[in-house]
Protein backbone atom coordinates (compact mmCIF):
# COMPACT_ATOMS: atom_id res chain seq x y z
CA UNK A 1 0.00 0.00 0.00
CA UNK A 2 2.62 2.48 1.09
CA UNK A 3 4.98 1.36 -1.64
CA UNK A 4 2.20 1.58 -4.19
CA UNK A 5 1.57 5.14 -3.10
CA UNK A 6 5.26 5.98 -3.48
CA UNK A 7 5.44 4.46 -6.95
CA UNK A 8 2.34 6.35 -8.06
CA UNK A 9 3.83 9.53 -6.67
CA UNK A 10 7.07 8.80 -8.49
CA UNK A 11 5.28 8.59 -11.82
CA UNK A 12 3.27 11.68 -11.04
CA UNK A 13 6.62 13.38 -10.43
CA UNK A 14 7.82 12.59 -13.93
CA UNK A 15 4.93 14.39 -15.52
CA UNK A 16 6.09 17.43 -13.58
CA UNK A 17 9.59 17.31 -15.01
CA UNK A 18 9.02 15.33 -18.16
CA UNK A 19 11.57 17.09 -20.29
CA UNK A 20 14.25 16.83 -17.67
CA UNK A 21 13.34 13.18 -17.14
CA UNK A 22 13.81 12.29 -20.81
CA UNK A 23 17.04 14.23 -21.07
CA UNK A 24 18.25 12.46 -17.97
CA UNK A 25 17.38 8.96 -19.20
CA UNK A 26 18.85 9.74 -22.61
CA UNK A 27 22.08 11.01 -21.08
CA UNK A 28 22.44 8.04 -18.75
CA UNK A 29 21.77 5.63 -21.60
CA UNK A 30 24.40 7.30 -23.72
CA UNK A 31 26.97 7.41 -20.92
CA UNK A 32 26.42 3.81 -19.92
CA UNK A 33 26.56 2.77 -23.57
CA UNK A 34 29.92 4.50 -23.86
CA UNK A 35 31.15 2.63 -20.81
CA UNK A 36 29.71 -0.51 -22.35
CA UNK A 37 31.70 -0.10 -25.55
CA UNK A 38 34.96 0.67 -23.81
CA UNK A 39 34.36 -2.13 -21.40
CA UNK A 40 33.93 -4.50 -24.31
CA UNK A 41 37.15 -3.32 -25.91
CA UNK A 42 39.02 -3.85 -22.66
CA UNK A 43 37.50 -7.27 -22.15
CA UNK A 44 38.46 -8.29 -25.68
CA UNK A 45 42.01 -7.05 -25.35
CA UNK A 46 42.35 -8.86 -22.04
CA UNK A 47 40.99 -12.00 -23.62
CA UNK A 48 43.46 -11.73 -26.47
CA UNK A 49 46.25 -11.21 -23.97
CA UNK A 50 45.18 -14.36 -22.16
CA UNK A 51 45.23 -16.28 -25.40
CA UNK A 52 48.65 -14.98 -26.29
CA UNK A 53 49.94 -15.56 -22.78
CA UNK A 54 49.07 -19.18 -23.10
CA UNK A 55 51.20 -19.32 -26.23
CA UNK A 56 54.31 -17.69 -24.86
CA UNK A 57 57.14 -20.18 -25.10
CA UNK A 58 60.87 -20.36 -25.73
CA UNK A 59 62.20 -22.54 -28.47
CA UNK A 60 65.60 -23.93 -27.45
CA UNK A 61 67.73 -25.22 -30.33
CA UNK A 62 70.06 -28.02 -29.39
CA UNK A 63 73.66 -28.26 -30.50
CA UNK A 64 74.04 -30.59 -33.48
CA UNK A 65 76.83 -32.54 -31.85
CA UNK A 66 74.70 -33.64 -28.89
CA UNK A 67 73.70 -37.26 -28.76
CA UNK A 68 70.46 -38.65 -27.38
CA UNK A 69 71.63 -39.05 -23.78
CA UNK A 70 73.04 -35.54 -23.72
CA UNK A 71 69.80 -34.23 -25.14
CA UNK A 72 67.81 -36.09 -22.50
CA UNK A 73 70.03 -34.62 -19.78
CA UNK A 74 69.55 -31.12 -21.21
CA UNK A 75 65.81 -31.77 -21.20
CA UNK A 76 65.85 -32.57 -17.48
CA UNK A 77 67.99 -29.53 -16.77
CA UNK A 78 65.41 -27.33 -18.47
CA UNK A 79 62.48 -29.03 -16.72
CA UNK A 80 64.20 -28.46 -13.40
CA UNK A 81 64.21 -24.70 -13.80
CA UNK A 82 61.71 -23.16 -11.36
CA UNK A 83 60.11 -21.01 -14.04
CA UNK A 84 59.46 -23.89 -16.41
CA UNK A 85 56.08 -25.57 -16.66
CA UNK A 86 56.68 -28.06 -19.44
CA UNK A 87 59.28 -29.07 -21.97
CA UNK A 88 58.42 -30.63 -25.30
CA UNK A 89 61.03 -32.27 -27.54
CA UNK A 90 60.99 -31.59 -31.28
CA UNK A 91 63.28 -34.03 -33.08
CA UNK A 92 65.19 -33.17 -36.25
CA UNK A 93 62.68 -35.23 -38.19
CA UNK A 94 59.70 -33.49 -36.66
CA UNK A 95 61.27 -30.13 -37.43
CA UNK A 96 61.84 -31.24 -40.99
CA UNK A 97 58.23 -32.33 -41.33
CA UNK A 98 57.09 -28.95 -40.07
CA UNK A 99 59.45 -27.28 -42.51
CA UNK A 100 58.17 -29.36 -45.37
CA UNK A 101 54.62 -28.53 -44.49
CA UNK A 102 55.44 -24.88 -44.63
CA UNK A 103 57.80 -24.56 -47.59
CA UNK A 104 57.32 -27.69 -49.70
CA UNK A 105 60.10 -30.17 -50.46
CA UNK A 106 62.71 -28.07 -52.21
CA UNK A 107 65.12 -28.02 -49.27
CA UNK A 108 65.52 -31.76 -49.25
CA UNK A 109 65.88 -31.99 -52.97
CA UNK A 110 68.88 -29.67 -52.74
CA UNK A 111 70.47 -30.92 -49.52
CA UNK A 112 71.12 -34.50 -48.57
CA UNK A 113 71.34 -33.86 -44.87
CA UNK A 114 68.68 -32.47 -42.60
CA UNK A 115 70.13 -29.09 -41.56
CA UNK A 116 67.43 -28.39 -39.01
CA UNK A 117 68.45 -28.73 -35.36
CA UNK A 118 66.38 -30.59 -32.84
CA UNK A 119 64.83 -28.38 -30.18
CA UNK A 120 62.84 -28.09 -26.98
CA UNK A 121 59.69 -26.00 -26.72
CA UNK A 122 59.87 -24.64 -23.20
CA UNK A 123 56.64 -23.40 -21.73
CA UNK A 124 56.89 -21.13 -18.69
CA UNK A 125 54.63 -21.07 -15.69
CA UNK A 126 51.76 -18.59 -15.84
CA UNK A 127 53.30 -15.85 -13.75
CA UNK A 128 56.55 -15.86 -15.73
CA UNK A 129 54.82 -15.27 -19.04
CA UNK A 130 55.71 -11.60 -19.22
CA UNK A 131 58.10 -9.83 -21.48
CA UNK A 132 60.79 -9.23 -18.88
CA UNK A 133 60.57 -12.65 -17.27
CA UNK A 134 60.65 -14.44 -20.60
CA UNK A 135 63.71 -12.43 -21.60
CA UNK A 136 65.41 -13.22 -18.31
CA UNK A 137 64.71 -16.94 -18.48
CA UNK A 138 65.76 -16.98 -22.14
CA UNK A 139 69.08 -15.47 -21.15
CA UNK A 140 69.61 -18.13 -18.51
CA UNK A 141 68.71 -20.88 -20.91
CA UNK A 142 71.00 -19.53 -23.58
CA UNK A 143 73.99 -19.98 -21.28
CA UNK A 144 73.29 -23.63 -20.60
CA UNK A 145 75.85 -25.84 -22.40
CA UNK A 146 74.40 -27.61 -25.39
CA UNK A 147 72.03 -24.80 -26.20
CA UNK A 148 72.87 -23.45 -29.60
CA UNK A 149 70.31 -20.77 -29.91
CA UNK A 150 66.96 -19.70 -28.61
CA UNK A 151 63.96 -18.00 -30.06
CA UNK A 152 60.96 -16.42 -28.46
CA UNK A 153 58.35 -13.84 -29.30
CA UNK A 154 56.75 -11.40 -26.95
CA UNK A 155 56.35 -8.38 -29.22
CA UNK A 156 52.62 -8.61 -29.81
CA UNK A 157 52.03 -9.47 -26.21
CA UNK A 158 53.90 -6.50 -24.84
CA UNK A 159 52.14 -4.23 -27.29
CA UNK A 160 48.77 -5.56 -26.23
CA UNK A 161 49.67 -5.40 -22.58
CA UNK A 162 50.53 -1.76 -23.02
CA UNK A 163 47.29 -1.19 -24.89
CA UNK A 164 45.37 -2.95 -22.16
CA UNK A 165 46.92 -0.64 -19.62
CA UNK A 166 45.82 2.37 -21.65
CA UNK A 167 42.34 0.91 -22.12
CA UNK A 168 42.03 0.39 -18.39
CA UNK A 169 43.13 3.94 -17.75
CA UNK A 170 40.63 5.33 -20.27
CA UNK A 171 37.98 3.13 -18.70
CA UNK A 172 38.69 4.45 -15.25
CA UNK A 173 38.48 8.04 -16.43
CA UNK A 174 35.36 7.25 -18.39
CA UNK A 175 33.82 5.60 -15.38
CA UNK A 176 34.37 8.73 -13.33
CA UNK A 177 32.85 10.89 -16.08
CA UNK A 178 29.91 8.56 -16.55
CA UNK A 179 29.13 8.26 -12.86
CA UNK A 180 29.45 11.95 -12.15
CA UNK A 181 27.49 12.80 -15.29
CA UNK A 182 24.69 10.42 -14.41
CA UNK A 183 24.60 11.57 -10.82
CA UNK A 184 24.42 15.14 -12.06
CA UNK A 185 21.50 14.62 -14.44
CA UNK A 186 19.47 12.47 -12.06
CA UNK A 187 20.10 14.79 -9.15
CA UNK A 188 19.06 17.71 -11.28
CA UNK A 189 15.81 16.09 -12.38
CA UNK A 190 14.91 15.30 -8.81
CA UNK A 191 15.87 18.78 -7.73
CA UNK A 192 13.48 20.23 -10.30
CA UNK A 193 10.66 18.01 -9.12
CA UNK A 194 11.33 18.90 -5.49
CA UNK A 195 11.34 22.61 -6.31
CA UNK A 196 8.09 22.26 -8.24
CA UNK A 197 6.54 20.52 -5.26
CA UNK A 198 8.04 22.67 -2.50
CA UNK A 199 4.68 23.94 -1.21
CA UNK A 200 3.19 20.48 -1.21
CA UNK A 201 6.22 19.08 0.59
CA UNK A 202 5.98 21.77 3.26
CA UNK A 203 2.32 21.03 3.78
CA UNK A 204 3.02 17.32 4.02
CA UNK A 205 5.47 18.07 6.81
CA UNK A 206 2.90 20.22 8.60
CA UNK A 207 0.36 17.42 8.66
CA UNK A 208 2.75 14.84 10.06
CA UNK A 209 4.59 13.24 7.15
CA UNK A 210 8.10 12.12 8.00
CA UNK A 211 11.04 12.94 5.78
CA UNK A 212 11.45 9.34 4.79
CA UNK A 213 7.80 9.14 3.75
CA UNK A 214 8.12 12.31 1.70
CA UNK A 215 11.36 11.26 0.11
CA UNK A 216 10.42 7.73 -0.91
CA UNK A 217 8.85 8.71 -4.26
CA UNK A 218 12.01 10.63 -5.18
CA UNK A 219 14.14 7.65 -4.32
CA UNK A 220 12.04 5.50 -6.61
CA UNK A 221 12.21 8.19 -9.26
CA UNK A 222 15.98 8.13 -9.27
CA UNK A 223 16.08 4.35 -9.40
CA UNK A 224 13.69 4.30 -12.34
CA UNK A 225 15.81 6.80 -14.24
CA UNK A 226 19.00 4.87 -13.63
CA UNK A 227 17.38 1.54 -14.38
CA UNK A 228 15.87 2.78 -17.65
CA UNK A 229 19.24 4.22 -18.65
CA UNK A 230 20.93 0.92 -17.87
CA UNK A 231 18.32 -1.07 -19.79
CA UNK A 232 18.59 1.10 -22.88
CA UNK A 233 22.40 1.05 -22.75
CA UNK A 234 22.50 -2.72 -22.43
CA UNK A 235 20.05 -3.09 -25.32
CA UNK A 236 22.29 -0.91 -27.47
CA UNK A 237 25.33 -2.94 -26.47
CA UNK A 238 23.47 -6.17 -27.21
CA UNK A 239 22.54 -4.93 -30.69
CA UNK A 240 26.14 -3.85 -31.26
CA UNK A 241 27.51 -7.23 -30.20
CA UNK A 242 24.99 -9.14 -32.30
CA UNK A 243 25.68 -6.95 -35.31
CA UNK A 244 29.42 -7.35 -34.93
CA UNK A 245 29.17 -11.10 -34.51
CA UNK A 246 26.95 -11.36 -37.53
CA UNK A 247 29.29 -9.33 -39.73
CA UNK A 248 32.56 -10.79 -38.40
CA UNK A 249 31.68 -14.05 -36.69
CA UNK A 250 33.98 -15.16 -33.92
CA UNK A 251 36.14 -12.06 -33.98
CA UNK A 252 35.05 -10.65 -30.67
CA UNK A 253 34.76 -12.42 -27.43
CA UNK A 254 32.02 -11.31 -25.05
CA UNK A 255 30.36 -12.57 -21.95
CA UNK A 256 26.73 -11.47 -22.06
CA UNK A 257 26.63 -11.25 -18.24
CA UNK A 258 28.36 -8.03 -18.85
CA UNK A 259 25.03 -6.49 -19.86
CA UNK A 260 23.57 -7.17 -16.42
CA UNK A 261 26.38 -5.12 -14.94
CA UNK A 262 25.23 -2.16 -17.02
CA UNK A 263 21.65 -2.57 -15.81
CA UNK A 264 22.71 -3.05 -12.20
CA UNK A 265 25.12 -0.16 -12.48
CA UNK A 266 22.34 2.09 -13.75
CA UNK A 267 20.15 1.06 -10.86
CA UNK A 268 22.82 1.73 -8.26
CA UNK A 269 23.74 5.07 -9.81
CA UNK A 270 20.07 6.08 -9.83
CA UNK A 271 19.62 5.06 -6.24
CA UNK A 272 22.72 6.88 -5.01
CA UNK A 273 21.90 10.01 -7.00
CA UNK A 274 18.42 10.28 -5.58
CA UNK A 275 19.75 9.68 -2.07
CA UNK A 276 22.14 12.52 -2.68
CA UNK A 277 19.41 14.79 -4.12
CA UNK A 278 17.13 14.09 -1.17
CA UNK A 279 19.84 14.87 1.33
CA UNK A 280 20.69 18.02 -0.48
CA UNK A 281 17.35 19.49 -1.49
CA UNK A 282 14.65 18.06 0.73
Amino acid sequence: MKLLYSIKEAFAGFSRARFSFFISVFAISFLLFLIGIFGMITLNVDHLIDVLHARVDIQVFISNIYDDTQIARLGSTLSALPEVESVEFISKDAAAREFQKEFGEELFSILEDNPLPSSFIVKLREKYRTETEVARVAQTVKNIPGVDDIEYQTGALSLLTRFSGIARFVNAILLVIVISGSVFVITNTIRLIIIAKQDIINTMRLVGATNSYISRPYLIEGIIQGLLGGLIASCLCWILIKGFNWRWPGVIFINMDYLYILIGGGLVIGWLSSLFAIRRYL
Partner: protein, 215 residues
Protein backbone atom coordinates in the same frame (compact mmCIF):
# COMPACT_ATOMS: atom_id res chain seq x y z
CA UNK B 1 -2.17 18.84 28.21
CA UNK B 2 -0.85 21.85 26.29
CA UNK B 3 1.05 24.56 28.03
CA UNK B 4 2.86 27.67 26.87
CA UNK B 5 5.14 29.19 29.45
CA UNK B 6 6.55 32.69 28.93
CA UNK B 7 6.86 32.03 25.23
CA UNK B 8 8.67 34.50 23.05
CA UNK B 9 8.89 34.30 19.28
CA UNK B 10 10.79 36.91 17.36
CA UNK B 11 10.59 37.12 13.58
CA UNK B 12 13.52 38.67 11.73
CA UNK B 13 11.30 41.69 11.10
CA UNK B 14 11.07 42.31 14.82
CA UNK B 15 7.42 41.24 15.12
CA UNK B 16 6.35 38.25 17.14
CA UNK B 17 4.89 37.33 20.49
CA UNK B 18 6.21 37.76 24.00
CA UNK B 19 5.50 36.49 27.47
CA UNK B 20 2.72 34.25 26.28
CA UNK B 21 1.55 31.88 28.97
CA UNK B 22 -1.55 29.77 28.53
CA UNK B 23 -2.96 26.31 29.10
CA UNK B 24 -5.38 24.12 27.26
CA UNK B 25 -6.96 21.29 29.21
CA UNK B 26 -8.44 18.08 27.81
CA UNK B 27 -11.81 18.56 26.14
CA UNK B 28 -11.76 22.33 26.44
CA UNK B 29 -12.94 24.87 23.88
CA UNK B 30 -10.71 27.94 23.82
CA UNK B 31 -11.08 31.05 21.68
CA UNK B 32 -7.92 32.98 20.96
CA UNK B 33 -9.20 36.40 20.00
CA UNK B 34 -7.41 39.46 18.80
CA UNK B 35 -7.08 41.85 15.90
CA UNK B 36 -5.17 41.12 12.74
CA UNK B 37 -1.45 40.91 13.35
CA UNK B 38 -1.89 40.31 17.09
CA UNK B 39 0.01 37.00 16.97
CA UNK B 40 -2.75 34.39 16.96
CA UNK B 41 -1.31 32.29 14.15
CA UNK B 42 2.08 32.57 15.76
CA UNK B 43 0.74 31.10 19.00
CA UNK B 44 -0.72 28.16 17.09
CA UNK B 45 2.57 27.66 15.23
CA UNK B 46 4.40 27.22 18.51
CA UNK B 47 1.96 24.47 19.44
CA UNK B 48 2.50 22.42 16.27
CA UNK B 49 6.13 23.45 16.53
CA UNK B 50 6.62 25.20 13.28
CA UNK B 51 8.15 28.01 15.32
CA UNK B 52 10.43 27.43 18.26
CA UNK B 53 10.41 29.85 21.16
CA UNK B 54 13.55 31.89 21.75
CA UNK B 55 12.45 32.19 25.37
CA UNK B 56 10.13 30.07 27.48
CA UNK B 57 8.86 26.70 26.40
CA UNK B 58 5.87 24.85 25.03
CA UNK B 59 4.76 21.43 26.11
CA UNK B 60 2.31 19.45 24.03
CA UNK B 61 1.39 16.08 25.44
CA UNK B 62 4.62 14.17 25.98
CA UNK B 63 6.65 16.61 23.88
CA UNK B 64 8.43 19.75 24.99
CA UNK B 65 9.87 22.42 22.71
CA UNK B 66 13.12 22.40 24.70
CA UNK B 67 13.83 18.73 24.18
CA UNK B 68 11.95 17.60 21.11
CA UNK B 69 14.10 16.16 18.33
CA UNK B 70 13.43 17.18 14.77
CA UNK B 71 12.48 13.67 13.79
CA UNK B 72 9.81 13.52 16.49
CA UNK B 73 7.93 16.54 15.21
CA UNK B 74 5.92 14.56 12.61
CA UNK B 75 4.69 12.29 15.40
CA UNK B 76 3.61 15.26 17.49
CA UNK B 77 1.70 16.65 14.51
CA UNK B 78 -0.07 13.38 13.84
CA UNK B 79 -1.77 13.70 17.21
CA UNK B 80 -3.00 17.21 16.45
CA UNK B 81 -5.44 18.48 13.87
CA UNK B 82 -4.66 21.83 12.32
CA UNK B 83 -6.91 23.97 10.15
CA UNK B 84 -4.48 26.43 8.61
CA UNK B 85 -5.50 29.98 7.97
CA UNK B 86 -4.52 29.57 4.30
CA UNK B 87 -5.89 25.97 4.24
CA UNK B 88 -2.69 24.46 2.84
CA UNK B 89 -4.42 21.86 0.73
CA UNK B 90 -2.36 19.58 -1.49
CA UNK B 91 -3.29 21.02 -4.86
CA UNK B 92 -1.92 18.07 -6.82
CA UNK B 93 -4.65 15.68 -5.65
CA UNK B 94 -8.38 15.59 -5.17
CA UNK B 95 -10.40 16.25 -2.04
CA UNK B 96 -10.54 12.61 -0.99
CA UNK B 97 -6.76 12.21 -1.29
CA UNK B 98 -6.20 15.43 0.60
CA UNK B 99 -8.07 14.09 3.56
CA UNK B 100 -6.76 10.54 3.29
CA UNK B 101 -3.17 11.76 3.18
CA UNK B 102 -2.88 12.14 6.95
CA UNK B 103 -4.05 8.55 7.36
CA UNK B 104 -1.72 7.30 4.62
CA UNK B 105 1.30 8.74 6.42
CA UNK B 106 0.46 6.87 9.59
CA UNK B 107 0.06 3.67 7.55
CA UNK B 108 -3.63 3.05 8.22
CA UNK B 109 -5.35 0.19 6.40
CA UNK B 110 -6.93 1.26 3.13
CA UNK B 111 -10.38 -0.05 4.10
CA UNK B 112 -10.17 1.96 7.30
CA UNK B 113 -8.96 5.01 5.44
CA UNK B 114 -11.89 4.97 3.08
CA UNK B 115 -14.44 4.69 5.87
CA UNK B 116 -12.94 7.46 7.96
CA UNK B 117 -12.40 9.85 5.07
CA UNK B 118 -15.99 9.48 3.85
CA UNK B 119 -17.24 9.99 7.40
CA UNK B 120 -15.16 13.11 7.80
CA UNK B 121 -16.20 14.56 4.43
CA UNK B 122 -19.83 13.89 5.34
CA UNK B 123 -19.27 15.80 8.59
CA UNK B 124 -18.32 18.94 6.67
CA UNK B 125 -20.95 18.35 4.00
CA UNK B 126 -18.58 17.74 1.11
CA UNK B 127 -19.19 14.09 0.24
CA UNK B 128 -20.30 15.06 -3.24
CA UNK B 129 -17.02 16.91 -3.94
CA UNK B 130 -14.65 14.02 -3.15
CA UNK B 131 -13.24 13.86 -6.67
CA UNK B 132 -12.80 17.61 -7.13
CA UNK B 133 -9.41 19.24 -6.99
CA UNK B 134 -8.82 22.08 -4.53
CA UNK B 135 -8.57 24.60 -7.37
CA UNK B 136 -12.12 23.68 -8.42
CA UNK B 137 -13.57 24.58 -5.01
CA UNK B 138 -14.76 27.86 -3.53
CA UNK B 139 -12.85 29.34 -0.61
CA UNK B 140 -15.45 28.15 1.86
CA UNK B 141 -15.36 24.64 0.43
CA UNK B 142 -11.57 24.56 0.63
CA UNK B 143 -11.83 25.61 4.25
CA UNK B 144 -14.18 22.72 4.94
CA UNK B 145 -11.79 20.29 3.28
CA UNK B 146 -9.09 21.62 5.59
CA UNK B 147 -11.39 20.97 8.52
CA UNK B 148 -12.20 17.46 7.32
CA UNK B 149 -8.49 16.73 7.10
CA UNK B 150 -7.86 18.13 10.57
CA UNK B 151 -10.51 15.97 12.25
CA UNK B 152 -10.13 12.73 10.30
CA UNK B 153 -7.50 11.29 12.62
CA UNK B 154 -9.46 12.15 15.77
CA UNK B 155 -6.83 14.41 17.30
CA UNK B 156 -6.86 15.19 21.01
CA UNK B 157 -6.43 18.83 20.12
CA UNK B 158 -7.79 20.69 17.13
CA UNK B 159 -6.15 23.99 16.25
CA UNK B 160 -8.38 26.05 13.97
CA UNK B 161 -6.93 29.26 12.59
CA UNK B 162 -9.75 31.54 11.47
CA UNK B 163 -11.83 28.53 10.46
CA UNK B 164 -14.91 30.51 9.53
CA UNK B 165 -13.15 33.40 7.83
CA UNK B 166 -14.50 32.63 4.41
CA UNK B 167 -17.90 31.37 5.38
CA UNK B 168 -21.39 32.89 5.36
CA UNK B 169 -23.32 32.88 8.68
CA UNK B 170 -25.20 29.66 7.85
CA UNK B 171 -22.09 27.71 6.98
CA UNK B 172 -20.31 29.22 9.96
CA UNK B 173 -23.05 27.87 12.18
CA UNK B 174 -22.65 24.49 10.50
CA UNK B 175 -18.91 24.48 11.13
CA UNK B 176 -19.32 25.50 14.76
CA UNK B 177 -21.78 22.67 15.12
CA UNK B 178 -19.16 20.26 13.78
CA UNK B 179 -16.64 21.60 16.28
CA UNK B 180 -19.07 21.16 19.14
CA UNK B 181 -19.81 17.64 17.98
CA UNK B 182 -16.20 16.55 17.86
CA UNK B 183 -15.60 18.38 21.13
CA UNK B 184 -18.33 16.27 22.62
CA UNK B 185 -16.27 13.21 21.57
CA UNK B 186 -13.43 14.54 23.72
CA UNK B 187 -11.30 16.62 21.38
CA UNK B 188 -10.04 19.90 22.83
CA UNK B 189 -10.32 22.82 20.42
CA UNK B 190 -8.51 26.11 20.11
CA UNK B 191 -10.03 28.54 17.66
CA UNK B 192 -8.05 31.61 16.66
CA UNK B 193 -10.25 34.38 15.32
CA UNK B 194 -10.74 38.10 15.11
CA UNK B 195 -14.51 37.57 14.91
CA UNK B 196 -15.80 38.70 18.30
CA UNK B 197 -19.38 37.88 17.24
CA UNK B 198 -18.43 34.24 16.93
CA UNK B 199 -16.94 34.25 20.40
CA UNK B 200 -20.03 35.80 21.91
CA UNK B 201 -22.34 33.25 20.30
CA UNK B 202 -20.64 30.05 21.37
CA UNK B 203 -19.51 28.70 24.69
CA UNK B 204 -15.82 28.45 25.41
CA UNK B 205 -13.01 30.05 27.36
CA UNK B 206 -11.69 33.27 25.84
CA UNK B 207 -8.05 34.31 25.66
CA UNK B 208 -7.36 37.78 24.34
CA UNK B 209 -4.19 38.67 22.52
CA UNK B 210 -3.01 42.03 21.25
CA UNK B 211 0.33 43.20 19.87
CA UNK B 212 1.90 39.85 20.70
CA UNK B 213 0.85 39.83 24.34
CA UNK B 214 -1.88 38.05 26.22
CA UNK B 215 -4.30 40.45 27.92
Amino acid sequence: MVELHNVKIKYPTGDGIENVTLKIGPGEIVFLVGPSGAGKSTVLKTIYMEERPVEGHVSVGEYNSLFIRKKDIPYLRRRLGVVFQDFKLLNDRDVFKNVSFVLEVIGAKSKDIKKRVLRSLADVGLSHKSRKYPAELSGGEQQRVAIARAIVNEPYLLLADEPTGNLDPDTTAGIMEIFERINARGTAIMIATHNYELVKKYRGRIIRIEKGKIL
